[in-house]
């Protein structure tokens, strides 16, 4: 990138240099023309002055006051010859003639009349009417040299009367030589001055272009680097990744790695932003120190980092490198006298195996990292088993943010049916995205991308607010179903979450006991302490807590002890196998027993047929949810169907 910028700079300098050369040369031309003209004018002035002296001192005293006619009186002629012969002899005067106004030659220093200026010529007429004409002309006596020709009236008296015309030719060669010398000197001085001027201009433009170049480089650095850690930013990372992929030789492998800090939000919330910033700086330093020389590290935003590891032999090499890196990263550090351990999840995509475009690789690295977040392995290399995160998470996040603003999200509801009465005992709010291009999207298409981002907070708040508002509407219609809302791990990490829920409840007609928050086991596992705190606060005021997808995540049963759980929802994976597999039947039976033992209600998810429903009822499961009863739908549809058809149980049994 430096090379093209350099050529741009020098091209700019070249343009400057040429552009300033033009006015300098023009200036030189104008000045030299001015010098030449001035030199000529000086010569003419000199000729004029010389002619005046000759006329007044040599000619006027000799002539009487009478107007010159064709001939001079003998005495005057003699005196005139004496007065002028020495000047003619020595060459001070090339030729001297006295002319009558009619043009007749009254006196000629060489007695000849050849080559006289005609009386009709402009110069002669000027002199005859009192003016003067001075010009530089070819020597009329022959030869190549130039002479100064002066034509002026002869005024031999003080009264100002003109008596004839003086035609005088003065030598110009000496003056011309002097003028040439002066011009040469002037040219040399001028050339020197102009060269100096040009040099100064060139230096100025050089320094300006250099400054511009540096400024541009600084701006580019600014645009491509993160000011907090000094690491390159997302844009730079993308460009560098593209370049790396382009320049990768055939068969050469490398890795695009995404890394995300595990407890960053906790540090930020509990120790303050400056501690968070310091943590990021430390992480940046450690990452940079741990990678190889050719590797690149960038901060992509928040607590997310990106690495480009070119020239790897394959996934094992990447794993080895990242394992070492993770080890160095996890060394404890002290922030504000609190000892903090840094954990990070790494998602790895190997090129060209997992993709040849930056987009594809990032998507897969993201999916791998997400997988790592959910599991226990710190470094996950993408494989086909890893579910791809829907779209590029960041792109989706941006779109989703717009969707929130444009109100493209809608809530559908799926009823939980009480197995003993066959009547709805609750409605689970399910988010749908009315995408302007892709149509109605289920949560699986976009939620995974945002569950770990800050966007989940406003999103959950929106769902809660909207669900409570809807419940107000169906309360008004005379139906009192409780409502359930899904909450993600990140919501529970926020210390303000419980407060927000309470505020929203206060603003609605729903009492806390009629709201249920559904949490996955994994969400509980992620941040046990924070989640516990939030759930405890909420259950204290009566909000129900439900464990969603029970049996599929990484839960530890101890949580059931510490978290006040009101409901356990059995994952559909077990329910769908109830008809055919004895193992599933015993698992579900155990779960029901476990739940009832803890004082929780049990809801089976994914009930798709009557046999399953019958088995569950027999196993004393409390409620069921699934296509057998109802698909998720807008609440007015459910209201029409379930509020007006009370005896569903009768039809199903």
């Amino acid at each position: 990138m430096r090379a093209p910028r350099g050529t741009t700079g020098s091209r700019l300098f070249l343009i400057y240099a040429v552009a300033s050369l033009v006015p300098v040369l023009l200036l030189g031309l104008v000045l030299s023309r001015g010098y030449r003209q001035e030199a000529r004018d000086r010569a003419l002035v000199q000729g004029r002055a010389q002619a005046s002296v000759i006329e007044e001192m040599a000619i006027a005293p000799v002539l009487g006051g009478h107007v010159l006619s064709e001939s001079l009186r003998g005495r005057e002629l003699g005196r005139l010859l004496r007065a002028t012969e020495l000047a003619s002899f020595s060459g001070s005067v090339v030729r001297l003639r006295l002319r009558a106004f009619t043009g007749g030659i009254v006196f000629s220093d060489d007695a000849s009349t050849a080559g006289a200026l005609p009386a009709t010529s402009a110069a002669f007429r000027t002199a005859a009417s009192g003016g003067r004409d001075v010009a530089i002309v070819r020597d009329p006596t022959g030869g190549d040299s130039q002479v100064i020709r002066v034509l002026q009236p002869i005024v031999p008296n003080a009264s100002g009367q003109a008596t004839g015309v003086l035609e005088l030719y003065l030598p110009y060669a000496a003056i011309a030589a002097k003028v040439e010398t002066q011009l040469r000197h002037a040219y040399i001085r001028m050339a020197g001055a102009l060269a100096a001027l040009y040099l100064v201009l060139a230096i100025i433009s050089w320094s300006i272009t250099r400054r511009l170049r540096r400024h541009a480089a600084a701006r580019e650095h600014e645009a491509l680097h993160d000011p907090l850690t000094g690491l390159p930013n997302r844009e730079w990372f993308r460009l560098r990744a593209e370049r790396t992929l382009r320049s990768a030789e055939a068969g050469e492998r490398g890795a695009i790695v995404l890394a995300d800090l595990d407890r960053f939000k906790e540090v930020n919330d509990s120790l303050g932003h400056h501690a968070g910033d310091e943590l990021l700086r430390v992480v940046a330093r450690r990452l940079r120190a741990a990678v190889r020389t050719d590797d690149s590290v960038a901060r992509l935003g928040g607590d997310e980092f990106g690495l480009i590891l070119p020239s790897l032999s394959g996934a094992p090499a990447a794993l080895e490198l990242l394992g070492r890196l993770r080890g160095e990263l996890s060394e404890e550090l002290t922030l504000d006298s609190v000892v903090v351990g840094i954990e990070a999840s790494f998602g790895v995509a190997i090129y060209p195996d997992h993709g040849t475009t930056v987009e594809a690789l990032l998507k897969r690295a993201d999916a791998a990292m997400y997988e790592g977040k959910r599991g226990t392995a710190g470094v996950v290399v993408y494989s086909d088993g890893v579910a791809p995160a829907a779209g590029t998470s960041l792109l989706l996040q941006g779109e989703l943010r717009h969707a929130l603003e444009r109100d493209e999200l809608v809530l559908h509801y799926q009823p939980k049916i009480a197995l003993d009465t066959g009547r709805p005992c609750g409605m689970e709010a399910l988010l749908r995205w009315q995408h302007p291009e892709r149509g109605l999207l289920p949560p699986g298409a976009f939620l995974p991308a945002v569950e770990r981002s800050a966007l989940i907070e406003p999103l959950t708040a929106w769902v809660l607010e909207r669900a409570l508002a809807h419940r107000d509407r169906w309360l008004a219609a005379g139906v009192g179903w409780p409502v359930s809302v899904n909450v993600s791990a990140r919501n529970l990490e926020s210390p303000r979450f419980a407060e927000q829920v309470i505020e929203l409840l206060d603003g609605s007609r729903t009492s806390p006991g009629e709201l249920c928050l559904e949490v996955t086991e994994t969400a509980l596992a992620a941040d046990a302490a924070g989640a516990e705190r939030a759930l405890r606060a909420l259950s204290e005021i009566g909000v129900g807590v439900s464990i969603d997808d029970f049996g599929m995540g990484y839960s530890c049963l101890s949580q059931l002890r510490s978290v006040p759980v009101a409901e356990i929802k059995v994952d559909r994976a077990f329910v769908s196998g109830l008809d055919s597999r004895a193992e599933d039947r015993s698992i579900v039976r155990s779960i029901i027993e476990l739940a009832h033992g803890l004082g929780c209600a049990v809801t089976a998810e994914g009930v798709e047929n009557a046999q399953t429903a019958a088995w569950l009822r027999a196993a004393s499961c409390d409620a069921a949810q699934g296509y057998h009863y109802a698909r998720p739908a807008p609440w007015p549809e459910l209201l029409d169907r379930w509020a007006l058809a009370p005896e569903f149980q009768a039809t199903t049994t």
Binding site: G65, V67, F101, A128, S129, G130, G131, P153, V155, N157, A158, S159, G160, Q161, A162, T163
Partner: protein, 302 residues
Amino acid sequence: MPRRLRLLAILVAAAPVLLASGCGSDETAAQASGPSTAYDRALHDALPTDVRRSGVLRVATDASYAPASSFAADGRTIVGFEPDLGAALGRVLGIKLRFGQATFSELLSDLVNGRTDVVVSAMTDTLERERKADFVNYFSAGTAILVQRGNPAGVSDLAGLCGQTVAVETGTIQVDLLERSQKHCGDRPIVIKTYDTNADALVQLRMGRAAAVLNDYPPAAHLATDPHTRARFQLASTAQYEPGLYGMAVSKRRPELRDALQTALDQLIRSGEYAEILKRWGVEDGAIKASSVNAGGVATGE
């Protein structure tokens, strides 16, 4: 060239022409607005036959006496209130008065010899000159003393000229005036130097070879105020000595020419053109009420 630009170019090119023509018409209007005197056929017929036939009256003048008559910048044209008066007389008489340069001291002999028809050259009408020619009086002026600027010789009146060198033009009444003044100087007589033209006399003053030049008052005042000469000359005092009348000299053998000129001059005086001409040259103080013939000798009592 776009049409609009071309139109602009034409306008720009035409502007000086338009402006110049505007100025020109203003000038002619100004000249025409002055009083003018009609051609008088009877007077024309009263002129001598040869003058009528040639249509030209030769006028001799010594053109070294601005603002009466002097050479213009071209060194050839004679200008002044006398040529202007001559042109006006010519219009009334239906002829041309052609002014030519001559030496002042030779003017009257040229007239007697027939080399010229009239002399108009700021010549004061005196009894002595009336012996050679008839004078049609047209202006009144006295003599003034002109000195170098700063008056280094400290001349303030005629008596102050005793013992000094004074330059004058040959044949002028100032020569007579100086000679008459000698009797007051005792043993410190005025050194009187005479020159062919008044300009030559002024050269002497300018070079410091003379302490003063005696001129008629109008040319002396002109020299002391004209931007080209006032740095060199000043008047010794505002006094005018021996006021006299300028006269156009006409041969005594041609009374009809003399009378025609006098009548024409009277018409100029009556029409106001005469006053206008004098005013143009800044010499209206010397205007006369009516023309006369040979009145100068009577006035000075000589």
